[in-house]
């Protein structure tokens, strides 16, 4: 069995190298880096996804995954990590003799990631793995290096951090907050204070309420009971609009307001100016987006590689328009140098007076950012 770890920075051709190794002859299972790339796209229940991949004879040991028991759940509603676990389970039930994984394991938490790597290390199948957090080829693996190409997307996070204008983020106070979905209670009587110039990491199981908290803070949802205030002033974003939070989504494609950056910026400017929120000038945006790797504001966003789009999604937290930044899995797909630079830039956000909430499975990234931990679960939010 051949196990190959493809190592190299972003834009060095790792994905192409991986795909070339797999070929296009239908003999290899593929787990890609982008949203839903773990799924076949041919099923609307977990049970059907497994049924599609089930081979006539099972060739490998089963990769156990709790999610496999959730037969009627829709695969598109699973978290990224759950989708990857489901895909590994499907591979283990299939008759493919090889698997290629392009950074997909980065969506797993520490325990599941270790389990997945252990499974890949001992299985009777070929493995080709590209992963930004596998820096040394594990024992028994060979390593294939790739080098950065000349037309890679340059990144200047240090310059971005240096250009951040200081501001004083408001303190957030949540008092007696209740929130439930029709089938489930999420928060019961939550009291929480979030200090300005502080960075918080949200942790909790899937379904615990991390995304729900983000939605409550930007105004998609409203609490059934309780109050949220900014520096003591009542804050009702569902009624008055979001005034405080710049959100960078896990899938960057979910946040574009236009087909080009220029269109995106113009629409946001138009929307936010009505609330008295001033955005940086177009020149400042152009400079910021160049530092994030875009050659021009007229780039068609969706025609850029995924890694580049992910970086451009950081435009909003770092443009300084909003005092609090929310980053959902910001490091997915980013190489080590980028993760280190991003950690420094996020730390600088805190130092310049902004507040930050981030969600990540990347403990190494989190360790580089001085932060406090908010654990969400059991109806509560506790600072640890």
């Amino acid at each position: 069995m051949e196990r190959v770890a493809i190592a190299g920075p972003n834009f060095s051709g790792r994905s192409e190298t991986l795909r070339a190794r797999l070929g296009a002859d239908g003999k290899s299972f593929f787990l890609g880096p982008y949203a839903e790339a773990a799924l076949s796209g041919l099923s609307s229940t977990v049970a059907d996804e497994i049924a599609i991949y089930r081979g006539s004879a099972q060739r490998h040991a089963t990769f156990p995954a709790d999610i496999a028991a959730a037969g009627m759940r829709k695969p598109a509603t699973l978290s990224g990590g759950e989708q990857v676990l489901l895909a590994l389970h499907c591979f283990s039930r299939s008759d493919y003799g090889a698997i290629g994984i392009d950074t997909a394991l980065e969506q797993l938490d520490v325990a599941n990631r270790a389990r997945a790597l252990d499974y890949l290390a001992v299985g009777a199948f070929d493995v080709t793995l590209a992963d930004n957090r596998v820096e040394q080829a594990p024992a028994g693996w060979s390593r294939q290096d790739t080098a950065r190409t000349a037309d890679g997307f340059s990144l200047d996070l240090e310059g971005i951090a240096g250009a951040l204008k200081p501001r004083t983020a408001p303190a957030i106070a949540i008092s007696g907050m209740d929130f439930s979905y029709p089938s489930k209670d999420i928060f019961r009587g939550v009291d929480l204070s979030l200090a300005p110039a502080t960075i918080y990491r949200l942790i909790g199981d899937n379904g615990a309420g991390k995304t729900t908290l983000l939605k409550l803070l930007v105004g998609v949802l409203a609490p059934a009971r309780g109050t949220i205030s900014l520096d003591g002033t009542p804050y009702q974003p569902r009624r008055s609009g979001n005034r405080a939070f710049a959100l960078a989504t896990q899938n960057p494609d979910h946040q574009w307001c236009g087909a080009t950056l220029r269109e995106d910026v113009a629409r946001r400017r138009n929307a936010l100016s009505g609330r008295g929120i001033a955005l940086p000038s177009e020149e400042e945006f152009a400079a910021l987006s160049r530092r994030l790797g875009a050659k021009s504001l007229d780039n068609h966003v969706y025609e850029l590689p995924l890694v580049a789009r992910k970086r451009l999604s950081w435009l909003w937290p770092f443009c300084g328009a909003m005092p609090w930044a929310m980053l959902d899995e910001p490091t997915i797909g980013q190489d080590r140098d980028t993760r280190v630079a991003l950690a420094a830039a996020v730390t600088r956000l805190g130092e310049r007076g902004y507040g930050v909430l981030f969600v990540t499975h990347d403990d190494d990234f989190a360790a580089c950012v001085p932060h406090r931990v908010l654990r969400i679960g059991g109806g509560t939010i506790r600072e640890e």
């Binding site: 087909a259 068609h300 969706y302 025609e303």
Partner: protein
């Protein structure tokens, strides 16, 4: 004819019809937005009109069946309406594809085409739907149409012509909006995807 990229396009456009149609139906908007995928399918496959018609028809019929099963059981009765929309989209609206994608946007030619194609699509939809509305629904499909139909019936029109006139009053507006949305989505679609679908 049905290459893998085209199967994806048909499914994508059908899914768009179902998703938008369902959302609009559930929040009771006075518009439909359930044929944007059909129109878009024809635009994506322009200039091949036969392929565009076949794929747009398949997208339309699959969405009609799924909406019927999942949300609104009366929807499949309008299957022929969807075929008519696919025909107009493939043989007329798709002719506007180059204008819809031109950069910078030629506003006046764009607008003229959207309005013209929308009106023709709306007229065809109203004509084909009228017998269904008249017979299955007694001329009344909801609050929007109810009072227009009542007006024509009170004036002595028979139910089929009242349903037709009611449809002619509403459908061109709704379909113009849908052609506009489809044209803007087509305009925003990455060129790589269009090349993939057209086999270029």
């Amino acid at each position: 004819m049905l290459t893998t990229p085209r199967l994806i396009v048909i499914a994508l456009c059908a899914a768009l019809n179902v998703s938008l149609g369902t959302v609009v139906y559930l929040i009771k908007l006075p518009i439909y937005l359930d044929s944007i995928g059909t129109i878009l399918c024809a635009l994506l496959l322009a200039p091949d009109r036969i392929v565009g018609f076949v794929c747009a028809t398949l997208a339309g019929l699959i969405s009609v069946a799924l909406i019927g099963l999942l949300v609104n059981p009366f929807y499949p009765w309008f299957a022929l309406t969807m075929v008519a929309i696919a025909a107009v989209s493939a043989f007329l609206t798709a002719g506007g594809a180059p204008v819809f994608r031109a950069r910078p946007m030629p506003v006046v030619p764009f607008a003229i085409r959207v309005v013209l194609y929308g009106i023709v699509t709306g007229i065809m939809a109203a004509v084909v739907s009228a017998p269904v509305v008249a017979y299955l629904f007694g001329g009344v499909t909801g609050s929007g149409s109810a009072f227009i139909v009542a007006l024509f019936l009170k004036a002595g029109q028979q139910v089929l012509s009242a349903a037709l006139l009611s449809g002619l009053a509403a459908d061109p507006v709704d379909k113009t909006l849908q052609v506009l949305f489809a044209a803007l989505l087509y305009r925003a679609t990455p060129v790589d995807f269009i090349k993939l679908v057209r086999g270029q």
